[in-house]
Symmetry: C2
């Protein structure tokens, strides 16, 4: 394929118009990091400004509406991940939500001592589980998801046994984009009497998720990647309806209390998913999530996923053609049924390569240790030509010769 | 005193000009709830708008600066509460921070089984302690702070003994405004080998706090009251420098990890206060706190406290004169050395009275169960005439006859 093929795909793209609903960026880089921090939808900028005005004019009376935001915006997120109303909240960070839900799960699995996770999962997921395991004598069985997608999934299935209390995995792996079969792993876990907690950080808003259909128990995810709600926007959590009153999360705060404003003497968990709230929720962040998710809802996950698959296919094809000869290797599964919405390329000089790419070619991907450059097109605003040009730029800066050390700055 | 006396105080008020630095409110109510949700400083509205623009234009590259915000804004909050740099972070909610710090404290107090708290503390404080106590066999010794300020403080001192692991108290009581002697209670706790965790929610930004001088161990607080950072803005936490590496908080996230972006296999707590971070911090919230605290810093806590004392004195005087005859009773200590920056008035009909006051007289205070109306003037923007008029309005709506049930709506 050549660039005109990519241009043709853009001309036929039913989502092409959505790009204009995002605020223009300085210097117009080719942004391939929507899986780390999504771009700013104009609607979100407007909603945050309105939220600030609302605070200014309604003052404490604004809480009449704000108090329901975690549940109301949660229901909205729920519609993107196949969760019926009353099971999702937007609150806290992904880390804190992982802690609350994993802790709640372990607390009701008396006698089972193993947590099954991934050895290459996102750091926070691994660390939260390590911390919880150390507290009550659990062991983390960290599965190696390295040996190809089929092998990886089988390794997970094999790791689940009668001693497994909890299976906690990312639906889409942050580094290589491996996508696990949510339904199959959930079923296997239940067969063994284990609970399952899915991290949907790299799925929500781009990759189909059907929590209710899978029979999933618990889930968490962030809203600042494909959902475009801004840096560090509040995260979400899902607790399946019939588990809500059976499990108990450990952080007892006034927003999780039954009849909150009675302020009674003893903690009494609110009924339903509300008990998974903790403290006062961040209103501006919630307003941003609300507006951001409204955009995704309007487009629909099906259309986004359709385009995401075409974008990743193009990236894989171009990476093989242009970067393979330079010694780079696509680490994302080639089978579209086994990957999420981003594509990763491994090379021993990935760190320097990625940094030069950003600084000299204004192509913004990101590096993940030890040796991967991630290219995360966002179906809502990334064009096919962006993917084509990103790989071309990668080839060009490499062919021009990489320096021994990267340009200064940049922490992420 | 009459209204002209209040007007004279306003004329002489060195802080009078600061009122104009706040965004005007709809219908210009008399706002006496700055101790619940502070008003919107124009500087904060501007900073949030800039933050949104920064996200839009710098995209993921913005993290080069944002990553340090919890510590940088934390140091700024620290200057308001007598904490040298490197001991305060802005992150999570007050509830989550209470949980992290109380849990960390209990974890290093092997063999001590008692948590000393207040039976009338803010719900979240009580609930967090109850949850933690239930987990590892601790008992909460809930002190009754009812019997007058002297008695209350003595009751706290008497409750601390050799079995006390942690003393966790609000510096200023949310309901009645009782202010405890931070230095004295900290000293007594240390004498007994206990650690102390102060909740500064009703102190920070209006009441002098000297954590380093007191020798305090731990503290938390919120930023949406006197600090004016907006509804649900991120909270702060303080861990005294020499305790930072000795204590361990339970929520192990990637922002608390040493060498975060190496993403190593095992959790290794970062050195210093950083290990008390958890997940990705909310950037817009942090930017709001930064700008809001800058305003307080410019004015200075000493000047704010000076005015706060005069405002509460005026309120107590007026409440005695006008509301006493109506059967209401000031429950805030009359001794200025024993109270914070708000004044509470108890009456059996407080709930209906408060609601009528808001709806008919546009005087916004708040109700706290079972029978209290709180009047929380904020020294930065509340005028002496506002305090005078608020009490007059209270008397007038009462004298006009309260309905049997309150107007509809309003949850807080």
């Amino acid at each position: 394929m050549d660039r005109t093929d990519a241009e043709s795909l853009d001309e036929l793209d039913p989502l092409a118009g959505w790009r204009d609903r995002f605020v223009a960026t300085e210097g117009e880089p080719i942004y391939m990091d929507g899986n780390s921090l999504g771009r700013l939808p104009a609607a979100v900028a407007g909603a945050v400004a309105d939220g600030v005005r609302q605070w200014g004019s309604r003052l404490v009376g604004g809480w009449d509406e704000w108090v329901d935001l975690p549940a109301r915006v949660g229901d909205r997120v729920g519609r993107l991940i196949g969760a019926a109303a009353g099971q999702v909240l937007v609150c806290d960070s992904t880390t804190v939500n992982l802690y609350k839900l994993a802790s709640a799960a372990l607390g009701c699995q008396e006698g089972r001592r193993v947590i099954v996770g991934s050895a290459r999962d996102f750091p926070t997921d691994r660390y939260v589980l390590q911390g919880l395991a150390g507290r009550a004598g659990h062991t983390v069985r960290a599965v190696d998801l390295g040996p190809g997608p089929e092998g990886a999934e089988q390794a997970v299935l094999d790791a689940i046994d009668g001693d497994t209390a909890l299976v906690c995995l990312s639906h889409v792996d942050f580094r290589d984009g491996l996508r696990l079969d949510g339904r199959r792993i959930t079923a296997r876990a239940h067969e063994a009497g284990a609970l399952v907690l899915w991290d949907l950080a790299h799925s929500a808003g781009a990759v189909p998720v059907e929590l209710d259909e899978w029979g999933a128990d618990l889930a968490v995810g962030c809203t600042y990647k494909y959902l475009n709600a801004g840096p560090g926007s509040p995260a979400f959590l899902y607790v399946r309806r019939d588990l809500q009153d059976r499990l108990a999360q450990p952080i007892w705060g006034w927003f999780g209390q039954a009849d909150q404003f009675r302020m009674g003497p003893a903690y009494e968990a609110a009924a339903g998913v509300t008990s998974y709230l903790t403290g006062t929720p961040g209103v501006l962040g919630l307003i941003a999530v609300d507006a951001a998710v409204a955009v995704i809802e309007e487009v629909g996950v099906a259309a986004l996923w359709e385009k995401a698959q075409r974008l990743t296919a193009l990236l894989v094809e171009r990476a093989d053609a242009r970067l393979g000869p330079l010694g780079a290797r696509v680490t994302t599964p080639r089978d579209p049924d086994r990957r999420g919405a981003h594509v990763s390329v491994a090379h021993p000089q990935a760190w320097v390569w990625c940094r030069v790419l950003i600084d000299q070619a204004r192509v913004i991907g990101d590096f993940r240790p030890p040796d991967v450059i991630r290219l995360g097109p966002a179906p809502l605003y990334t064009r096919y030509v962006d993917c084509f040009d990103a790989v071309e730029a990668m080839a060009e800066v490499f062919e021009a010769g990489l320096p021994a050390s990267p340009p200064p700055g940049r922490v992420t």
